[in-house]
Structures are given as C-alpha cells and as structure tokens.
Amino acid sequence: MNVLVCVKRVPQTGGRIVLTADGQDIDTKFLGFTISPHEECGVEEAVRIVEAGGGSSAVLTLGPAAAEDQLRDAMALGIERAILLETDGTEWDPVSTAAAITAAIRDQEAAHGAFDLVLFGNESADSGGFQVGIRVAVALVRPVVSGIKGLTIGSGSVTARREAVGGGWETYELPLPAVVGVKEGLNLPRYPSVPGRLRAKKKEIERIPVGAATSGPAAASGTPIGPSKVVLRLPQEQRSEAEILGRGAEAAPAVVDLLERIGVTGR
C-alpha cells in the first residue's frame, strides 16, 4: 500500500488566544506549532499500515516554509518522504488549498506511482473548513468518507468505521484507491524516538513553491475561491469570578451542599 497523509501546521493555543494588532492572525510569538490533532492520527495510521503490510508512506502539507517542522515531525514517526507546497505565508482558502493539493497528488503519482490511500484530518483545528479532503477526492474521482475512527485494510478495499448518530458505529466499504477523513481516536499516536528524530532531520523535503491562493490553480482556472478572511476577533465572554468554596479537603461539605442544592445527589 502506498499511503499519503495530508497535514496542516497549526498553533498550539493552550489557555487563551491572543490576536495580532491587525486582527489577521493569532499572535504566535509565545506559541509552538503542531500538526492538527486529527492529522496526527492520520500520520500514525499511515505508518502502521506500511509497517503491517509494506508499501510506502508520504506526508504532504500546504503552508509556509516553517511547516517543514511538521513534515519532519511526521517523518520522525516513520513517514518516509515529505512534500511541502510552500506558500508565501498568507492564508489559503479551502477551494484553493484543495486545488493545489489535487494538482500535487497528480504530479506525485505521475512520478512515483499511485497512492492507494490518501488520509486527511476531518477538519483542521484552526480554520475548521470541513471540506478539503472531500474536494480533493471529488476532483480525483475517488471514493471518500469523513469522520473515521477505525480503518481495516482489505484486499483492494478498506473498511472504515465511524460513530453513528445516536450512538454505536456505522461502517463503510471503500474500493481502493480511496480518500479518508480521519478523526482523533483512530489510534494513539506514538512518541518519536531519538533515532527517528535524527533520521528525519537529515531527510530531503521536496519543496514546491505555490505562492498565494490568488495565484493558485483554482484562481487561475476561474473557479470562485473563498471564503475570504476579512478579520479575526475573539467572542464576547461573560466572565464571572468563580465562587471559591474552600481550600483543600475542608471544602468537601460546601461542595456537597452545592451538589444537594442543584439536585444531583439523589437526596
């Protein structure tokens, strides 16, 4: 199996979001970056599939030059090669992103052979468009399903499992080649080993400059792109001081008083 996993570099937000003065971005001066959580599981799954059944694995991202870090993180876990669609650092909308990734997959397949499986995160942690993987699959005319938390590789097909509306699970069978949008919970990603990190540091990354979305393949073909960000802002919060019920174990009676008052103690 040849597996491609597509990832996105996103800030590690922690406790609160601070915006830049122009409201165009999250202020990342004091933040690290990571692979979007669903996609971390996509990376792990790609590594496991190749470990179990042979084949090759690749990771692709569209992002700024610094997204190289996330590609190396993926290679440290065992992904063999990496492709960076290097932007000018401006934000790309979902239509433009999907068109650039589709074009890159076609080029990669022409050079290295077809991908049997392409994995995407169900949605990115930051912009949350819920659509790039589906757009790529439709453009490549491949079957696709989203929200997947379980994958079983068969011969010529993959069985995908996701949580059903109202509880339980539902399963889908996809003939290969296929595209799958995965969710965190698919697996428990491993931690990178030191030798893995060292190996990843030395690997070549294939860099393909793509510039800005307005000069990308979608815009060039005349397709409407978007939505287009105007400005970011923080939601209004109704902040209230927490009422301190006490300190340490001595607070227990006050806590139980509260639980009784709201009627959750069965008394």
Binding site: E123, A125, Y172, K183, P227, S228, R247, E250, V255
Partner: protein, 327 residues
C-alpha cells in the same frame, strides 16, 4: 424575488434533527433579506411526512427523496450530489446545511460537485455584494469575519447559534418528490454495517454529572478517585486531551474540540488547566466546579465554583462527605 434558500434537513429518529431546525430559523432570516422562499431537501423513509410538517419553520416546498437507491442508507457523496442537483435545478441563491457531522459532509460534497466555495460553521450572514458572514474557528474560540462571492452561496450553520422558531398557523409545506440522476460512482460509499452502542455504562454525553480529569490526576490508576465520586453521583468520568493522549483514558472519554461536547447539570473539572481545546467541550455545562491547586489556571475564568487544593485530597473528601450524608 431571488432564487430560494435551499436547506438540507437531516432526519434523526423520524423527525428533523435539532440543528436542522436551527438552520431553518437562520435560513428564514436570510430568505427575508433576499426576498426569497425557504425550500428544504429531505432524504430518507420519513422524508415526506417530516417535510410536510416544516410549514411552521417557514418551508414553502419540501423536496423529498425516498427511493431505496439513494435514500436507503446514508451515502455522503450521493446525498451531496442530490443537494447540488436541487440547488442547480431551483436556481438557489444559497444552500444551507446543519453543521453536524453528516450535514457538514453532505454540504461539502455538494460544494465540491458545484465547484463553489463553502463557509463552514457560520453564525451570521448578510447578503450583498459580496455576502458578509461571521464563522467559527477553533470550534468557536475564535470568530472570523469573511466575505463570500459565488453564484450560489453554500454555508453550514454552527450548531446551537440560533434558536428554533415555529410560527403557528403557517400552511403545511408542499411536498414534491425529487428523483435526481445520481451516478453509480456517487453511491459507492454508503453505510453497509452498523454496530449497536455498548450497553450498561452511563454515556458521557447524557450524564447529568460529569467528573473530568486532567494532567493533575497524575496516572491512569488515580482516576479511581474520580470513578468513585462519579459512582456516588450516578455520573460519568471524562478527561482532557492530555489524559487520552497519554493513554490514561480511552479517546472516547475525551471532552474537547477533538472529543465530545458535553452539557451536564454540573461539570467537575479536576486537575484540568483549561486549555481552549478542552473549554470548547465543556462550556455548555450548566455549572462548572474547578478543583485545582493553581488558583490562576485558565479553568478558573470559566468556572462558576472553585476549590483550591490538591484533587487527591479534595475528591476523596467529597466522596467521604457524600457517603456520610447518605448514611
């Protein structure tokens, strides 16, 4: 008069799901601004009966797909293709769907097939040239004001952003069968099997009391203290992303942006710092009680009540006090 606002309405248990009803309320506001009708697309065995009943929600025409080929089981590509076909056939001004798992998937398939942009998890939209809208990022921790320019504007509606509206005395919606030509390729991916939910335990999503544990719990074994308290209160135990990433709890117990969104009567957050990823999942709780040794941790800014102290002392003391009072 502009082309209609077409709403994809999801069916759940023989009725329209809640977020779809919210989406209809949102669509009606859009339709007034556009001087347009609201029309609905429903797919499935109950589509006609549910569709006819959407008059009070402002639907004039309910387009229903009932044939087993397409409506038999959920087929994301096929249903998206049907939505795209209806939008084109009706000359829709806009297509709106609920921002649920399925709704997001179906509308994205429609957008991909139409070759048009899609704005996900929208909170507000103002028609114009271009359309202006506000949408959620980071699962609602951040808002984006954006513009959308397309012949048909495709949106999904952020769940629980607007209230459901019903107008009494409204005429029933006209039910029209819709039988689009769907290619075999669009029907390849569909639900082919189901597994029933595990019986017995109280589901985290339904529990009235949820006890959450974070890094401060310290180990998988130490969750026993939280389990004991949950048992006494008939509640359920969940955790932050840290504890599921460390393998202390299964991922299905995760409360947060990449896990469950809960809305219990009270959420007791133990040793949880309050990362945005987690807050998104628990902010709909009626009350939040934080038990944390750090009075300055971010969880305190969303908590209604707090106990400052080591959860390993506080949680067992609460259990003991409950036992004492229960005799």
């Amino acid at each position: 008069m502009s082309g209609p606002v077409v709403v994809y309405v999801e069916l759940a248990g023989g009725e329209a799901d809640r977020v779809s009803l919210e989406t209809l309320a949102f669509a009606r506001v859009l339709a007034v601004a556009l001087d347009a009708d609201v029309e609905a697309l429903l797919i499935g065995g109950d589509a006609a009966a549910v569709g006819a009943g959407l008059g009070p929600q402002g639907v004039t025409t309910a387009h229903v797909v009932t044939g087993a080929d397409l409506a038999g089981t959920f087929a994301p590509g096929g249903w998206g293709a049907a939505l795209a076909a209806l939008a084109t056939a009706r000359g829709a001004s806009a297509v709106v769907g609920p921002g649920t798992d399925r709704g997001s998937e179906v509308v994205a398939h429609a957008a991909a097939r139409l070759g048009l942009p899609l704005a996900a998890n929208v909170l507000a939209a103002t028609p114009g040239d271009p359309w202006r809208l506000t949408r959620q990022r980071w699962a609602g921790s951040l808002l984006e004001d954006a513009t959308l320019e397309a012949p048909i504007r495709l949106l999904t509606m952020a769940p629980h952003a607007v209230a459901i509206e019903e107008r009494s005395g409204a005429p029933a919606a006209t039910v029209v069968p819709f039988a689009p030509q769907i290619s075999a390729g669009d029907l390849v991916v569909r639900v082919t099997g189901r597994e029933a939910p595990a019986a017995g335990s109280i589901a985290l999503g339904d529990a009235k009391v949820v006890i959450g544990g974070g890094r401060g719990v310290g180990s998988a074994a130490a969750f026993a203290e939280l389990e004991e308290l949950a048992g006494l209160l008939g509640g359920a135990v969940g955790g932050s992303r840290v504890v599921t990433s460390l393998g202390w709890r299964p991922h299905s117990d995760q409360i947060g942006q990449t896990g469950l969104r809960i809305a219990p009567d009270i959420y007791i957050a133990c040793g949880i710092s309050g990362a945005i990823q987690h807050i998104v999942g628990c902010k709909s709780a009626k009350r939040i009680l934080a038990i944390n040794s750090d009075a300055e941790s971010p969880i305190m800014s969303v908590a209604d009540y707090a106990v400052i102290g080591d959860l390993h002392a506080v949680v067992p003391a609460i259990s003991a006090e409950l036992r004492r009072r229960q005799g």
